[in-house]
């Protein structure tokens, strides 16, 4: 059994020259952070995770993790796949380590506040501590100032920070002021400051000489795990459980008051916990790592690296540089960005241009556009379109440096009584469209086709306007115009037929549609992304091959989701297939990578109510906005360095994993993970490398996930607390990315549900008319439902309770013309209910069929159980079943009591009742709770995972449970697994917990 990939917590990171060394599980990853290339993965420890890395000038790294440490040549780190022979252990956990001044010795600070001085061969030279100060430490660091000046900074649980001199073992300071355990303490390189953080969520800056407290930094909303001085000790950076890293300045302008001031906040990791931070002083780049397994690079000069990021002009500035006088109260009313710069119009109809080379310039005045004017345009044609509220339009085409207007045309749309929206969109390579809308519902929706070179209107199409329609965005695909509107509505117009639009209403629960974007064409159908200001986004599939009006469902929603928070204004797929969105949250404008789940950039522009526009440039984006009647240009340059070195997975525990096993997808398989963080991720793993790609993070659940499973080729179910059970439809037609849409939600028993749906199981009805769903709940309830595929509804069939204890697992098992609900409550029993006679279906030996086409749904009480078999001492956490070669039904169980059981069931002929016995039982199958089990290799072997972080493969042939293989996994809180055996006989095993590991099990 071999681990082929791992994604999970990373606890330390360190820049050294042009590389960054990152502790990842029990390995170190070495990256060239300029290119993002991984140079090597080197396994350092047998089991312990890497917690700490130091690098010395002599070319060695000191790596520590719990009781283990290792001294490794940097050359070896860069080339060897493992250096396990270097691992040495001490009796206590190592809190921190450091090289001596001359790089000849090591100092290891233990969690009992002792420093071991050790040579490179692992011989102890001395053990130093302060007399009587041997309580447990949560944190600490060692600062080597010179050959004989070494300070130990120890963070205690209750007694604040202790600073002592290593060689004299003399305590210099006991810094008190924090409340609670100290989580990090560090001394600045110049020996001037000490910085510490604790459970109180504050950062404190102390004077190293006097030990006095200089300043307190508040800002983080959760615990802070690491601090680092940088930029010649003028700045401090902190990383926290709140998933942000924050930059602080240490202002020393007056000797009397030294202050820690928060300067910047970066959201860097997912859901919970970011552990480490380091800064490359030369490049001003930070690297951070967290529980989510992401290695994130942050540009600490995000708004100043190029020097032109921010520009601001007041009306006076513009007036001065154009030489035109602005009237009192004259403001900028609209603008559009081009490669050369900006075209803007003022409230008095003055049209201005701005270019980087020549600054502002007055172009002309047009009194039609006084006080009311939209500006739109086609950026790559240098065309600007001005419109007012009474149907007047003016089009201008500029040359490439905006010196001259090379074409101009005006038009009055007399068809409309008024205009309240004008949208412009490119159409083919030589035309663009102008869409004019009137607030009057009787008016037409006017479409003008304009020649981009001459600005001549070549065609006017007066479309009818749907009722309850108020246009907000547009996209052109071939000869179709897709217009988004309020009420989450979409109208599709054909430029060829000119017929009535095809209207799709209420695509999601939000209101204003903010963008429609063509994504790709699959199987002759076009896929579009549709966003809604309220945060929803959807993907829709449209079949344009036939007249939309003549199809049953020409438009299908194939994906639905909602962003974490804030307003959503626009989205597109970037060249690497990541879904990039932008919008506002409170007073911030943000650009976010929705696929990977990180913020790309943000700007505190004041909020969404301002006039603003984001345009892409050759080198990124530019946000133009008006704030306090000044115009701001905020350029976001494409980053020279990658955003991440590794993309992680969930920030919290993975509670369940489900592989989509029916077919391969891009040389691997699709799978879903359900996490404590309440989200479901739809991912892919490559079969050979184990490389994981995340496509989507679904956020429909509001409570931590319990279970998830694919129930056939395109349906997937997830369940969680608050009685949530969701049925999803997965669309895998596109090989670029799969999609996943919510199809139905299981009805809840009350309006304020507080039950957990612990597990579910399904049995399909012949001919795909639907399926039976059995679900078990935390209040001992057991319910069975019929899902009718034809109208997508759940109907309750059976409802009952076991006792009062929580139910952990359920499976629907068809066995010899009977259908059983088999459950495992927390009391360690296997409980069998025969529901064959209580449901309106015929149970055949191989199938379950409809009795008649009309399903008669009468919900009834769950029958009494047929059998209750005591197997474990406490809860059965893991359950699998199979029918063996001699036709006996077998159950495989793993318990909270560390045991593994096999039960063999038969049906007693005379009574027709199920009977069974424990045919094998292994009391100490693991050292702690067995959390998942699964059969592999056609049922010859059972794989178990347990909280002791071991995966075991058991030979279960001949009713025996004998250990075949045992393998340590780095994933803590090991709680879920799934496996797939491919045609070559090898099995790929996915193991989830705090992180995800993928193993390859060769065939026997």
């Amino acid at each position: 059994m071999k681990e082929i990939s791992h994604y999970g917590p990373s606890l330390c990171s360190k820049f050294h020259e042009k590389l960054v060394y990152v502790g990842y599980g029990s390995s170190i990853h070495v990256y060239d952070y300029h290119t993002g290339d991984i140079i090597n993965e080197c396994n350092i420890f047998h089991r312990n995770k890497v917690h700490h890395i130091r690098i010395c000038t002599a070319g060695y790294a000191l790596i520590c993790g719990m009781k283990s440490f290792s001294v490794v040549k940097l050359d070896d780190l860069m080339s060897c796949s493992e250096v396990l022979n270097n691992e040495r252990v001490i009796a206590e956990c190592i809190i921190s380590g450091e090289f001596s001044y001359e790089c000849t010795q090591l100092y290891l600070l233990t969690c009992y506040n002792e420093v071991m001085v050790i040579d490179f061969q692992g011989k102890i030279i001395s053990r130093n501590s302060v007399y009587g100060e041997r309580s447990l430490l949560y944190s600490g660091s060692i600062k080597v100032m010179s050959k004989d000046e070494v300070y130990v900074n120890a963070g205690t649980v209750m007694g604040g920070v202790l600073i002592w001199n290593l060689f004299t073992a003399h305590m210099m300071h006991n810094l008190v002021g924090h409340i609670g355990s100290i989580f990090h303490v560090t001394l600045s390189d110049d020996g001037g400051f000490v910085a510490s953080c604790s459970d109180d969520r504050s950062i404190r800056l102390w004077d190293f000489k006097t030990g006095s407290e200089l300043s307190i930094g508040w800002g983080h909303t959760a615990r802070i795990w690491q601090l680092k001085f940088f930029n010649d000790n003028k700045n401090l950076i902190s990383i926290s459980e709140d998933c942000t890293c924050r930059v602080w300045s240490i202002s020393t302008h007056s000797e009397a008051k030294i202050e820690l001031v928060q300067r910047n906040v970066f959201e860097v990791h997912l859901t919970k916990n970011a552990w480490s931070i380091d800064v490359h002083d030369g490049d001003m780049i930070a690297v951070s790592t967290g529980n989510d397994g992401r290695i994130k690079l942050t540009d600490l000069q995000l708004a100043s690296r190029h020097g032109d990021e921010q520009e601001c002009f007041s009306v006076q500035d513009i007036s001065r540089s154009t030489g035109t006088k602005f009237e009192n109260g004259e403001i900028i009313k609209g603008f559009q960005w081009y490669e050369f710069g900006l075209v803007a119009v003022t409230s008095l109809g003055n049209i201005l241009t701005y270019t980087t080379n020549n600054g502002w310039r007055f172009q002309m005045n047009n009194t039609k556009f006084i006080s009311y004017c939209y500006v739109n345009g086609v950026s790559d044609e240098n065309v600007a379109v001005f419109s007012n509220n009474s149907g007047h339009i003016m089009m201008l085409k500029f040359n490439d440096d905006a010196e001259d207007v090379i074409a101009k045309s005006e038009y009055h749309a007399s068809e409309l009584s008024k205009t309240n929206n004008c949208m412009v969109c490119k159409y083919g390579s030589s035309h663009f469209l102008i869409l004019l809308e009137s607030p009057n519902p009787k008016d037409v929706f006017l479409c003008l086709i304009v020649n981009s070179a001459t600005l001549a209107i070549e065609e006017k199409i007066p479309y009818s306007k749907p009722h309850n329609f108020s246009s907000s965005c547009v996209e052109v695909y071939q000869d179709n115009v897709l217009v988004g509107s309020r009420y989450s509505t979409l109208a599709i117009y054909s430029l060829k037929s000119g017929s009535n639009p095809y209207v799709v209403r209420r695509i999601n629960p939000g209101d204003t549609t903010t963008s429609i974007k063509y994504i790709e064409t699959v199987g002759g159908k076009a896929i579009f992304s549709v966003t809604n200001r309220d945060g929803y986004y959807n993907f829709i599939k449209i079949n344009f091959n036939l007249d939309l009006h003549e199809q049953d469902t020409p438009v299908t929603v194939i994906h639905s989701n909602k962003i974490v928070r804030g307003f959503l204004e626009h989205a597109y797929m970037d060249s690497s297939g990541d879904y990039i969105i932008h919008g506002f949250k409170s007073n911030l404008f943000y650009i976010y990578n929705e696929t990977k789940g990180y913020e790309i950039t943000s700007e505190a522009c004041g909020g969404a109510h301002r006039q603003w526009r984001l345009s892409s440039t050759s080198d990124g984006w530019i946000l133009v906005y008006i704030k306090a009647s000044n115009i701001f240009f905020r350029r976001f340059h494409k980053r020279a360095i990658p955003e991440t070195l590794r993309d992680g997975i969930h920030g919290r525990e993975i509670r369940d994993i489900a592989i989509k096993k029916d077919k391969m997808y891009n040389k691997g398989y699709l799978f879903c993970t359900g996490s404590e963080d309440t989200s479901i991720k739809l991912c892919h793993f490559a079969k050979d490398s184990g490389r994981v790609t995340t496509f989507w993070t679904q956020r429909k659940h509001v409570s931590g996930l319990q279970r998830c499973a694919f129930i056939n080729e395109d349906l997937f179910i997830s369940s969680s607390a608050r009685e949530e059970l969701l049925l999803w439809e997965v669309d895998t037609e596109s090989l670029e990315r799969p999609f996943m849409n919510l199809r139905q939600v299981l009805p809840t028993s009350t309006t304020n549900p507080d039950l957990r749906i612990m597990d579910f199981s399904v049995q399909f009805i012949e001919n795909n008319v639907g399926f039976i769903l059995a679900a078990v709940y935390s209040d001992s309830a057991i319910k069975a439902w019929f899902f009718d595929m034809r109208n997508s509804t759940f109907h309750l069939l059976l409802d009952g309770k076991y006792e009062t204890c929580c139910m952990l697992n359920v499976c629907l098992v068809q066995y010899q013309e009977n259908l059983y609900v088999v459950t495992t409550p927390t009391d360690g029993h296997l409980v069998f209910y025969n529901i064959s006679n209580c449901i309106p279906f015929k149970i055949k030996n191989q199938s379950v069929e409809l009795i008649s086409d009309e399903v008669q749904i009468l919900s009834s009480a769950l029958p009494n159980f047929d059998l209750k078999l005591p197997v474990h001492q406490s809860g059965i956490k893991a359950l699998a079943h199979a029918i063996d070669s001699s036709g006996r039904l077998k159950f495989y169980t793993g318990g909270d009591d560390n045991a593994i059981g096999i039960c063999t069931m038969t049906i007693e002929e005379s009574t027709g009742k199920i009977e069974g016995h424990i045919s094998a039982f292994k009391p100490n199958g693991a050292a702690s709770t067995i959390t998942s089990c699964g059969l592999i290799d056609q049922g010859k072997f059972l794989v178990t995972t347990s909280v002791d972080q071991l995966v075991k493969v058991w030979d279960i042939s001949k009713d025996k449970i004998s250990l075949e293989k045992s393998q340590y996994v780095t994933v803590a809180d090991t709680g879920s697994s799934d496996s797939i055996t491919t045609e070559d006989g090898s099995t790929t095993l996915l193991i989830g917990g705090v992180g995800l590991s993928i193993f390859q099990v060769p065939c026997e």
């Binding site: 009796a91 001395s126 649980v157 209750m158 919970k272 702690s928």
Partner: protein
């Protein structure tokens, strides 16, 4: 979540309030006792409750040792915690860190020359979310408790402690096996099945004959146990050289491990702490929400919460 909905979910929480216990943890001790009867011994006199706040175990002990008892001569309960505890009848409380050797010294002083009959520890550190570190610190709390136990517990006495059944728990089982005749891993029904929590019940204290436990305030817990070679994974360090210099640190090897017997306690008829219970609408006494007996302690981040509440921690700079 409102208070009443927490009541509804958690019957032990309600029951604790009804019976005047400060925490639902009381039932863990009671259910352990139902199985092992260590508190039912009439000769039980002196007990130590480590990591005791808010104090429900101390309450159980106080009731068992003193309530309705005639002869209470020489009975003593010492309770220790990092947190301040409000007074409990017949219980001497100390606010201190049990990992600090000086704390153990203070407890020993309270016992003078007498031995204790029973030591328990329900200690749980503030979890960081780093599983290996959290489990290690948890084990260190147990080792500190065990260190004290070795100094005060009489031969054949009982020691129980909260454990997290994580990756190295079998190492702890194996170490405890050298000091006690019988080790059981017990899971009371009142402890959530979804948590890694369980209790190690160590019966019949029986340390190696030739080992004289001696507390030295300048030694760490590990060093205390180094003197029992078998208990310490790293025997090379146990050479009697005081300075331990020139000792070669060993390479990695898998520590000795063993799995303790598992026992579920509390009986299947007791409440299941994983279940959601429905409150009987007719039972008005049950329906009304009870006030917690002990108001929650001040968290270390109280000031941060206050600043956040006043909008001082927003992101915009």
């Amino acid at each position: 979540m409102g208070k009443s909905s927490k009541d509804k979910r958690d019957l032990y929480y309600r029951k604790a309030k009804e019976e005047g216990y400060r925490a639902r943890s009381a039932f863990k001790l009671l259910q352990l006792n139902d199985q092992f009867h260590f508190l039912d011994d009439p000769n039980l006199k002196r007990v130590v409750d480590l990591c005791a706040a808010p104090g429900s175990w101390s309450q159980v002990l106080s009731r068992k040792l003193f309530e309705g008892q005639k002869d209470v001569e020489g009975r003593k309960i010492v309770a220790v915690d990092l947190q301040k505890m409000s007074p409990i009848d017949h219980v001497t409380t100390i606010q201190a860190d049990i990992t600090h050797p000086k704390t153990l010294n203070r407890i020993l002083e309270l016992f003078g020359n007498e031995k204790a009959d029973f030591v328990c520890s329900d200690g749980a550190p503030d979890v960081t979310g780093l599983h290996d570190l959290d489990e290690y610190i948890q084990q260190q709390l147990i080792m500190s408790a065990l260190q004290l136990t070795c100094c005060v517990l009489k031969r054949n006495g009982t020691f129980i402690a909260k454990i997290f059944r994580g990756r190295d728990i079998d190492m702890l089982y194996s170490q405890l096996g050298y000091l006690f005749d019988k080790i059981v891993c017990a899971k009371p029904r009142s402890s959530r099945g979804t948590s890694m929590e369980a209790f190690i019940v160590c019966l019949s204290y029986n340390p190696p004959q030739d080992w004289e436990p001696k507390l030295d305030i300048n030694q760490s817990t590990e060093q205390f146990f180094e003197k029992i070679p078998s208990l310490n994974g790293i025997s090379e360090l146990s050479i009697d050289d005081q300075s331990h210099t020139k000792a070669q640190l060993p390479s990695w090897s898998l520590e000795e491990r063993s799995i303790a017997e598992f026992m579920s306690c509390g009986g299947l008829d007791s409440f299941d702490s994983d279940a959601t219970y429905h409150i009987d609408a007719d039972d008005s006494r049950q329906r009304e929400s009870l006030d917690p007996v002990q108001s929650p302690t001040n968290p270390p981040y109280k000031e941060a919460l206050e600043l956040k509440r006043r909008g001082k921690l927003t992101r915009a700079i």
